[in-house]
């Protein structure tokens, strides 16, 4: 959407805390435009985030928000979704929050498969804490803390997600706002736990993985790519030369946690205890 003022998800007159040139601006626009183009009812949308520069995003969207703790966006998002499944729930945060501090929740969110969208701002560095390595930092990158260069192999979210048979795995690059928006739209429309890992340049602390680097080191999956082929997706996931963008894998039939739990569409705030059922319960103990 070029006509930004028409977007109901815009926040008017909000001072944004990000650095000039930050990849988060493009990501914010892509998210808001995707929501608008999906014609989502603003009143039924909640964006949940953790802590980090990325996690500030819902502060700048005119929609309900739960900006929680570092690493804990997903349990909060689950609680919201299970308490009121009529809500559209998006959880978003950075690579440190989702893959580092929140790693265990990330794994188990996929095992449960409740219907939310997870957007990970993957800038391969810690921004908020001023430039330390993140789980996705490339080996050899020097930082204030890893001054001899990052020693560890980077975390490969796409491969891990495939191992878990996550039902919707996509990758985007914030440098390309238009395509990022399209991928987010697909993810939000997907019924199940959809994950979008979005490459995002950090112009202050990551001098390696820049806008130009992402342009040169990524490519879009071709139109004839079959995202339902898990083995093929694995091949893509472990490519290192150039990193694939687009929907890498999807499996539409996986059952939702909401359905497995038998959750109704009555929101929790309308929950009532039937007197009859209560008396029947007491009967068991007579």
């Amino acid at each position: 959407m070029n006509n930004m003022t028409a977007n109901p998800f815009d926040m008017q007159g909000k001072d944004i805390n990000w650095c000039p040139g930050c990849g988060n601006y493009k990501l914010l626009d892509a998210v808001k435009d995707a929501l608008y183009e999906l014609d989502l009812d603003r009143r039924n949308l909640v964006i949940v985030s953790g802590i980090g520069q990325a996690a500030k995003l819902p502060q700048y969207v005119n929609a309900s928000m739960f900006n929680g703790l570092h690493g804990r966006a997903l349990p909060v998002a689950m609680g919201i979704k299970l308490a009121n499944r009529n809500l559209t729930v998006i959880a978003e945060s950075g690579d440190g929050c989702m893959y580092g501090e929140g790693g265990n929740h990330f794994l188990h969110a996929i095992r449960r498969n409740y219907d939310i969208t997870v957007i990970v701002h993957d800038n391969m560095v810690y921004g908020l804490t001023k430039g330390q390595a993140s789980p996705t930092s490339r080996m050899g990158m020097t930082t204030s803390l890893q001054f001899n260069g990052v020693m560890l192999e980077p975390f490969n979210p796409v491969a891990v997600l495939l191992a878990l048979d996550a039902p919707f795995i996509a990758r985007a690059s914030a440098a390309d706002g238009e395509q990022t928006k399209e991928i987010i739209k697909q993810a939000v429309s997907f019924k199940g736990c959809s994950i979008v890992d979005i490459f995002q340049p950090c112009v202050i602390f990551n001098k390696i993985n820049t806008y130009q680097w992402f342009r040169e080191n990524t490519y879009y999956l071709p139109e004839d790519y079959d995202p339902t082929d898990r083995k093929l997706a694995f091949e893509k996931a472990i490519e290192t030369e150039k990193l694939p963008l687009g929907v890498i894998y999807r499996r539409d039939e996986r059952e939702l946690y909401e359905d497995l739990l038998g959750i109704t569409h009555i929101p929790a705030y309308e929950h009532e205890v039937s007197d009859e059922a209560f008396e029947k319960m007491l009967e068991e103990y007579r």
Binding site: L69, P75, A83, L107, I263
Partner: protein
């Protein structure tokens, strides 16, 4: 002559997996249905098979809910049980066991009880448990009818033959019990209740569970940890009937955050854990504090530090809940003293959490949760569910500043507004801010409610002579033991005071201690509540009766400790 006119304590001891619990469960149900007052409590080792566990079943002329140290009848299912309980076997204890289980041991009153032989005679060694219950009923001189009926229901799915064989096993044990009673001058004349009232036989887990269901709770996420798991299991069984979301979390951090998410969306949410699991939740309590999110936290206490004694009891997590979470904010801590009170207090916990948008703790412990007692139906109180949720308008602000410090609580999807909850310091609309003026107002807002909460705080209950110069304070699960010990001591100069709300304290509490000699009884090593009383109400405590062995207080030891009071 062994005559029991007022009460009797029967203890079953054996290895894990041997069926001690099964026997006790059957016996208390049968006794309850036969009109007797029963109380049972259990101690067990942290292992699935083997070891040495025991369950105490008390039959009493009056309602009791405390552990007694002394054993009248011990039914030992193996030799280790006799060793394990040696210290509790007194001169008057009658020990019922197979001969080889007591070989080489000095026991004054041993009665050779061929349980295995009777079981075999009935058709299978697995009927030993049924035989044991039969023996006890025979000794007590209580009709076998209720037990036969119990067996018919219990084994109905296994066919008529199994039922018949079990009844036969019960009869063999019963015959033996009757003969033994006659031959050894055993006479039990405890009377059943005069007018059989409408009673429920429940354990502590069930009491907390009934309260949770009654409160309209629709969400629990928790990670299994003894003894907090019982509530999770209870609610899982009720999930379909009452539309409760039951999520087994990947860790306690997830559990508390999920509960806060559910609460944000309008659910009444609870987490259940023990001290160690709660330690992981602390950051979430801080989050609940800053976001003003209602949540109820049930902590089934057990001895720490760290893994401590996983299956034992303690009241050691008061300070943990009092100080949990970084930063200053309000909270409430409740601790029920009886099952009926637990049912009501849990509902109160949810109402307080919603009304004051705060964390409410419910502290129980292993002794409380695993005990069994009867509750009169009329004592099962249902409080109205007070949600305090408003429909939002377009200009809705989640943290609107008000005189009371409480902002109308909106939830997403209900109304035209957006609801922004934020872990950062935030402005009225929920957006992060570093404005010092707003910060000051928000800190005040979050603490302000404590004053109202304290004015509404439950007052402690006094029992015994009001004019007594000495006041013994207990909290939570130690109500029953204090009540019974004081009653049995029968002294005019000592009364009991039980706190079911530990924090904040009602301002009236201070006056209740004026000119009193104050003794505090609690199941921990340092006297955590005694310290709280001193700090919050200026109460000077002259004596602390403490126990942190992992066992509950017994009536006898509380009586002994109180004997000195006033004579020091």
């Amino acid at each position: 002559m062994h005559h029991y006119a007022d009460e009797i304590s029967i203890v079953f001891g054996g290895a894990a997996g041997q069926g001690v619990q099964t026997i006790a469960d059957a016996l208390v149900k049968v006794l309850k249905r036969s009109g007797y007052y029963v109380f049972a409590c259990t101690e067990f080792m942290s292992r699935i098979r083997g070891g040495s566990n025991s369950t105490e079943v008390r039959i009493t002329g009056k309602k009791r809910r405390a552990y007694v140290h002394g054993i009248d009848f011990l039914v030992a299912l193996n030799a280790e049980a006799v060793d394990h309980l040696e210290e509790r076997i007194g001169e008057s204890t009658l020990v019922f066991a197979e001969k080889d289980h007591v070989e080489g041991k000095e026991i004054s009153n041993f009665i050779d009880t061929p349980i295995a032989e009777f079981a075999k005679e009935a058709g299978n060694p697995v009927f030993s448990n049924t035989v044991a219950v039969g023996v006890v009923l025979g000794l007590l001189g209580i009709s076998l009818d209720a037990f036969s009926e119990y067996l018919s229901v219990q084994f109905a799915s296994k066919g008529e033959e199994v039922v018949a064989k079990n009844i036969k096993a019960a009869e063999l044990g019963y015959g033996f019990g009757k003969e033994t009673a006659a031959g050894n001058g055993i006479e039990v004349t405890i009377k059943p209740a005069d007018t059989p009232s409408d009673e429920l036989l429940i354990d502590g887990n069930t009491a907390v569970g009934i309260g949770t269901v009654a409160a309209g709770c629709s969400f629990i996420s928790s990670y299994p940890m003894s003894p907090g798991t019982g509530l999770l299991t209870f609610l899982a069984r009720k999930a379909d009937e009452f539309d409760i979301v039951v999520d087994q979390a990947e860790d306690e951090i997830s559990a508390i955050n999920a509960a806060l998410g559910a609460s944000y969306a309008g659910a009444r949410a609870i987490v259940s854990t023990s001290g160690g699991g709660f330690a992981l939740m602390e950051e979430g309590i801080s989050l609940a504090g800053v976001t003003e999110m209602p949540v109820v936290v049930h902590i089934g206490q057990r001895p720490g530090p760290a893994t401590g004694l996983p299956t034992r009891t303690e009241q050691g997590d008061l300070n943990l809940s009092l100080y949990a979470g970084h930063g200053d904010f309000s909270r409430v801590i409740l601790a029920p003293g009886s099952f009926a009170q637990a049912i009501e207090l849990v509902q109160r916990a949810f109402n307080l959490a919603d009304r004051y948008q705060t964390t409410v703790f419910v502290l129980t412990d292993q002794f409380f949760l695993d005990s069994v007692a009867s509750v009169e139906r009329s004592e099962v109180v249902r409080l109205p569910v007070e949600r305090h949720i408003v429909r939002t308008d377009r200009d809705y602000k989640r943290y609107r500043l008000t005189k009371s410090g409480l902002s109308p609580r909106g939830v997403p999807g209900y109304g035209d507004g957006v609801v922004k909850a934020d872990s950062h310091e935030h402005d009225e609309s929920g957006h992060l801010t570093e404005n010092f003026g707003i910060r000051k107002e928000m800190v005040h807002k979050r603490l302000q409610r404590l004053e109202k909460l304290s004015r509404e705080a439950l007052l402690p209950e006094l029992f015994g002579p009001a004019e007594a110069g000495s006041l013994v304070v207990s909290w939570g699960s130690n109500r029953g033991v204090l009540e019974e010990a004081l009653e049995k001591l029968g002294r005019k100069d000592i009364a009991g005071l039980h706190f079911s709300q530990l924090y904040p304290l009602n301002p009236q509490v201070r006056g209740m201690f004026e000119a009193k000699n104050v003794i505090v009884l609690e199941n921990n090593a340092t006297g955590q509540f005694a310290d709280l009383l001193n700090r919050e109400a200026g109460v000077r405590v002259s004596k602390r009766i403490l126990k942190a062995t992992g066992e509950p207080f017994s009536v006898e030891e509380v009586m002994e400790a109180l004997q000195e009071v006033g004579h020091e």
